[in-house]
C-alpha cells in the first residue's frame, strides 16, 4: 500500500456520500478545489474537526473560479455558511456544491434559490429583494423607473394571494414553470 495520503477516512466518505449528491471521486475533487483556495490553511488530511471548523474567509471564497463572475456570489456564501457571515467550512462548501449539482432534485434547489434571492431574510421576496436582484443582474444599468416597473410586473405575474410580495409557495409555483431553472442553477465540478 505504501504511503498513500488519505484525505478522508472511509467513514467520512460514506457519510458524505449519503449526505450529498456526490460520488467519492467528486468529493475528493471538491476537497482539492477547497484546498486550492487557501493551501496554507486547509490541511491535506481532513479530520472531522477540520471539516467543520476550518473556514475560508468570504473574500477568498468569492475568488473561486466558479463563483467569481456570479452576481450573487456574496449572497450564496452567506446562505451556505454556518456562521452566517459568509465564511465557509469544508462541509458548507460541499453542501453548497452538492445542492448546485445536476443530480440534486428540483425541490431542494428551489428552497435554496429562494433563500439566496431573499436578501433581507424575511422569508418573502419583497420589492426590495427583487430590486436588489435586478440590480445585480443588470449591473445597475437599468433606470430606476424601469426597475420599479419590472419588479411590479414580476409581482403581478406571481403574486396569488395579493400581498405584494412572493411567498415560498408562489416562488415554487413559478419556478416549476420555468423551463431553464434546473439547467442554469447548476455548477459543474
Amino acid at each position: 500500500m505504501g504511503n498513500k495520503l488519505v484525505t478522508f477516512t472511509e467513514e467520512q466518505l460514506n457519510d458524505y456520500q449519503d449526505c450529498t449528491f456526490f460520488t467519492r471521486k467528486e468529493i475528493l475533487r471538491v476537497h482539492k478545489k477547497f484546498r486550492e483556495l487557501q493551501p496554507d490553511l486547509v490541511p491535506r488530511t481532513m479530520t472531522k474537526d477540520d471539516a467543520v471548523h476550518v473556514r475560508v474567509a468570504r473574500d477568498i471564497m468569492e475568488r473561486l473560479p466558479e463563483l467569481r463572475e456570479n452576481p450573487f456570489k456574496s449572497r450564496i456564501c452567506e446562505v451556505f455558511s454556518s456562521d452566517g457571515k459568509g465564511n465557509l467550512s469544508f462541509e458548507d462548501f460541499l453542501d453548497m456544491l452538492s445542492i448546485l449539482n445536476e443530480h440534486a432534485p428540483r425541490d431542494i434547489k428551489v428552497y435554496y434559490a429562494f433563500k439566496i434571492y431573499d436578501f433581507d431574510n424575511d422569508q418573502f421576496l419583497g420589492p426590495s429583494d427583487l430590486q436588489q436582484t435586478l440590480r445585480l443582474l443588470t449591473q445597475s444599468q437599468l433606470l430606476p423607473e424601469e426597475m420599479t416597473q419590472v419588479c411590479e410586473k414580476v409581482v403581478d405575474e406571481c403574486d396569488v394571494d395579493a400581498d405584494g410580495r412572493l411567498s415560498y409557495m408562489e416562488f415554487e409555483h413559478v419556478i416549476t414553470r420555468a423551463p431553464d431553472f434546473l439547467s442554469t442553477f447548476h455548477i459543474r465540478i
Partner: protein, 788 residues
Amino acid sequence: MSGGERKVKRHPRGQGWEEAGGEFYQESYPGGEAELEAMHQNPSNIATLLPSKQNRTATYSKMYDAKTTMRRRTANRTANRAQYQTTARRPSASAATAAATDVASMLPDLSENLSNEERTWEEIMQIKALPVSMAQKKEHKAKLQSQTKLRLQGLEQLKWQRRKMWQRLRRSWSEAYAKMELWRHSMKEVEGDFGTGVVAYFLFIKWLMFLNLGVCTLMVLFIVLPAVFLKPAQQFPECNLSNNFTGQGSVECCSAQYANTTSEPAENIFMQFIQGRGIVEHTQAFYGVYPNVELTLNSAAWLSYDMPLAYISLSLVFMLVSLAAIVKSAAKGFKERLVEGEGQFYQYCNIIFSGWDFCIKNEKSACIKHKAIFNEIKASIESERIEEERLTRSKEERFKLFSVRVLVNLAVFVLLIAALYLIYVVFDFSAQTQTDYIIANNTLLRLLFEFLPSLCVVGLNLVIPIILGMLVRLERYSPVLIVRITLMRTVLLRLSSLGVVLLSFYRQFNCDDPCRPEGADAKCKKPLCWETYVGQQFFKLMLVDFLSHIAVTFIVNFPRGQLAKYSHNSVVAYLGEQQFDLPKHVLDVVYIQTLCWLGSFFAPVLPLMASIIFFFMFYIKKFACLVNSKPSTIPYRASRSNSLFMAVLLLSFVVMIIPLGYTIAERTPSKSCGPFRGLPSVWSVIVRTFVSSPAWIKHVVFFFTTAGFAVPAFITLILCLYYFYAVSAANKHMVLVLKNQLVLEGRDKQFLLHRLSQIIKQQQEHHKAMRAAAQSAHMNSTDISSST
C-alpha cells in the same frame, strides 16, 4: 400593513362573518398567550404569526403526521415502494423541511413507532434532499442509524437486500462511468464561456457518437464476424456456362463475375480506400461480399446462422434502437414542455430567477451575459410598445410587408429548385463520364469526377444557407421566428438534396439487372452490384462533408476570427466576427447522422465511420466555438436547445425511413452480390422465415389479424384515447378552478387580517379610555380624600 398599499377589491363575503358565530372550527395555531400579548402591543405584526409564515412547520407537519400515520399503518406489511416514493417525493423535501426548525422534535417517537430496517434505509437515502446544514444531516443520519429497528423477515428481507444491492450496483456503476467520462474538461471550458445552452449541443454530439458506437458493435458481432469466420453450410453449385440453371445470368455466374472485378491497377491503395473501391469494395465494409446462404462453424450442421436474415434483422434493429433512443430523449423534454406550456408563461420571473447561468466563469462572457439579460428585459418592456406599433401599422405598410414576404418565399423556393436540379444534373453527368475513356486514363481528373456529386452537394449546403440568411432579414420577423424559419428552410434544403440524390439513383437503376442471359443492356448504366455503388456514394458524401467541415473551420473561419480580433478596421471586424450559430451546427451533425442511417444498409462500415467522424467533430466544433466565435447575444436556453435537436433528428429519421423502406420492400436486389442475391426483394427473407417458422407462431400471428381480435382491439384503443383526452381536459379545468380558489383565499386572508387588526386597535383604545377613566376617577377620589 402588507395589503394596505395595493388596491384590492374588498370582498363582500365578510358581511356574514359575525353571523357565523362560534360555529367556525378552530384550528390550533402555534401561538399562545405570549403571542397574543405581542399582538396587543403591535397589531400590524399579526401577519407574522400566520402559519404560512412559519414556513412549513404548521402546514407540513400535518403532511408529516399523515406520513407517520401511514407508516404506522404499513409498518406491518412490506412497504409499497412506489407509494412511499410518490408521497415522499414532494413532502420529503418539504415534510423534512420541518426538520429545518427542529430535527429532534420531528423524528418519530421511537417508543411507539418502530420502523423497520428498510424504512430506515430509505430515510437515510433521502437525507441528501433535506434542506438543512451538513452538520444536521450527519446528526440525523447518526440518529437514524442508531435507533432500534425491526428486522425484516423472510421474503421482505430478500426483497430489501435485492434493493440495496441494486442501489449499490447503480452507485458503483455511476462512479465507474464518471471515471471514464469523456471530455468533461472540454465541456466545462465551453460551459464557462458560453453557458449551458451550447454545452447541450456538445452533449448531443457525444450521445450520437455513443449511439453509433453501440450499433457498430452490434454490427460487428452479428454480421461482420460471422461473415469472416463462418463458412457456408453447403457448397455452391459452380458456374457452368452451358447449364441452364447455373449458366449465364444465374446467381452463381453473376457472383463469380462480380468477384472477379478488380479496379484498375493504376490506382494505389489510398485512392481505393477513399473511394471505397477495389480491394476495399470486396471486404465486409460493403454490402457486396456478404454470402446469401446459411453459415456454420466447421460444417457442424446443427449450428446454422442464417446470414440474410441476420443482415435484415440487424438493419431493422438499428432503426428501432435509434428511434427508441430519440423518442426517449425527446419524451423527457416533451413532458416538461407540456407542463410548462399549460397556463401562463412567466416571462419576467423567468428572466430574473433563472436568467443567470451559474456556470459562467469567463469575465467577458459574464459581461456579455449581463448585457444579454439587460437587452432581454428592455425588449420585454418594449414589447408591449412594439405590439401596439405592430397593430397600428398602416394598411400600406402591411401590404408592402406582405408582398415582400411573398417575394422572398418565392425566391427561396426558386433557389431550392435550382439547387436540386443542379445536383441531379451533376449526378447524371458523373455517372455518364465514368465510362468515358479519356477521363479514365487520367487519375486526378477521374478522382475529381468521382467526387463531383459529393462536392456539389456539400458546396450547395454551405452556400445556400448564407443566401437564406440574407434573404430572411428582408422579411422583418421577430428574432425567434427568424431562427426558426431559417432552420426550417435549411432542413428542407438538406433533406431534399438527399432526396434528389436518391431519385437520381432510382432513375439510373430503373432497368434490369446487367447480369442477364442475354448479356448486359447497353443503355442500362446499372453497375453489377448497385447496392455497393450506393454505399460507396454515401461513403464519399460523408467523407467530403467531414473534410469540408475541417476546411471551413480551420482554413476559412479561423483567419476570419483572428482578423476580427486583432484588426481595428470596423469593416473587417464586421466581416470577420462570428457568433456560434447553434441551429446551423446542429444541422451539420444531424445531416451526417442521416447519411449514416441511409447508407448503413448498403455499407455496414458507415456507423463506424460516423462514430469516428463525431469524435473528431467534437474537437472541430469546440475549436469553432472557443476560438472562432464569441458568445452570442441571443441567450440559448438549454431546454429549448435539447428539444430542437431531438425534433430535427426525429424529422430526419422519419424522412429517411421512407426511401429505405421502399428499397427494402420493393427493389430487386442485384444478382451478383450481397446476402439477398436471387431473391425477389429483401423483405422476402422475412416472409420466408415466417413461412418456415413453427405452426404455433403462425397461429398466433394469424390470430392477431383476424376480425375477432383486430376490431375489438381497435375499438378499445379508440376508447382509451378518448378517456385520456377527457381526463386531461378535466385536469386543465381543475387547475383553473383551483387557481381561482387560491386567489380568493388570499383575498379572504387579507380581509380578515385587516379586520382583526382593526378590532385589536379598537380594543386597545377602549382599554386606554377605560384606564384613563379609572385613573381620573382615582385622582378625583384622592383629591376628594386629600381635600377633606
